[in-house]
Amino acid sequence: MREFLAMGGYAPYVWGSYLVMAGLLVVEMVQLRYRRRGLMGWLKRMARLTEQEERK
């Protein structure tokens, strides 16, 4: 295992590539999620506001 992690002495480069890529992919997905959730909340609020206006 340790040998695997050492990557024949190239650990910083190999893991630096793979981990940064994994990290940013996760960030992209989380950001999408977050944006979607925000948008949904916003749309619902707007729908409520429109209803409120219509009731007036």
Partner: protein, 249 residues
């Protein structure tokens, strides 16, 4: 009657896309995970070290797919943008906009992994090599596209304007590539060039193929997801959005 059918058509096309994409995304996501799992296992564990570069060559498994993805997505983005601009098809505009961030990210990965690969191979993180430089410029083109899109408040105008930019960019990319290549060979001998991987073993080739597919699947899934959000934002007034809101909460 005819008026009504036109309205109907206009408002359901995005709705159709929204539903279809919603159904497709889980599949692409699953494929992404499976392919990445297999590819990573093959690439990091099974494949033997390179006889020249040792284990550092394993960066190739993400470097090459992301580099291809970055370049391909730019062309795709420009094509969608052109379709959107010329035939005024909303979905094409949305797709163009949705592709940009992922394309930029892929380009960035290619740069980042290339830099980290360059250090053990060439001794430096960065050289002003033709291929590297033109990749960097591609990243700038992506960033410019996104910056222009973000700077214009009116959605329609933003799509049209950035479509012009994407098209100009796509014409320029080959010009830039050749001029950069020429520039480099002019100033210095080919003391440093991207060395071809040694005659690729089958396992390496298969792994590379799988990782490339994984990058494809990932890009498709993420772009579709982003396009869905865009559709919702644009069509927020439409009745179908309200229906989806009620069912999805």
């Amino acid at each position: 009657m005819s008026e009504r059918s036109i309205q109907w058509f206009r408002f359901t096309a995005p709705a159709n896309f929204y539903d279809l994409a919603g159904r497709l995304i889980p599949w692409f996501a699953a494929l992404t995970i499976a392919l990445f799992a297999v590819g990573l296992y093959l690439g990091l564990v099974v494949a033997p070290p390179d006889y020249q570069q040792g284990d550092s060559y394993r960066i190739m498994y993400i470097h090459v797919p992301t580099a291809w993805m970055g370049m391909f997505l730019y062309v795709l983005m420009a094509v969608y943008a052109a379709i959107g601009l010329i035939w005024r098809i909303k979905m094409a505009e949305i797709m163009a906009k949705a592709i940009a961030p992922t394309g930029a990210l892929m380009t960035f990965f290619a740069l980042w992994t290339g830099a980290l690969w360059g250090r053990p191979t060439w001794g430096v993180y960065w050289v002003w090599d033709a291929r590297l430089t033109s990749m960097l410029i591609l990243l700038f083109l992506y960033l410019g596209y996104m910056a222009l899109h973000a700077a214009i408040d009116d959605r329609q105008r933003a799509s049209n304007a950035s479509a012009v930019l994407a098209m100009v960019g796509v014409v320029n990319v080959p010009i830039i590539y050749f001029s950069v290549q020429w520039w480099n060979t002019l100033h210095q001998g080919a003391s440093i060039t991207v060395t071809d991987a040694p005659t690729m073993a089958t396992i390496m080739f298969v792994t590379l193929l799988i990782m490339t597919l994984a990058a494809w699947m990932y890009s498709i899934a993420v772009v579709l997801a982003r396009a869905r959000i865009e559709v919702l934002e644009r069509e927020r007034k439409a009745t179908w959005v309200r229906e989806r809101l009620e069912t999805e909460s």
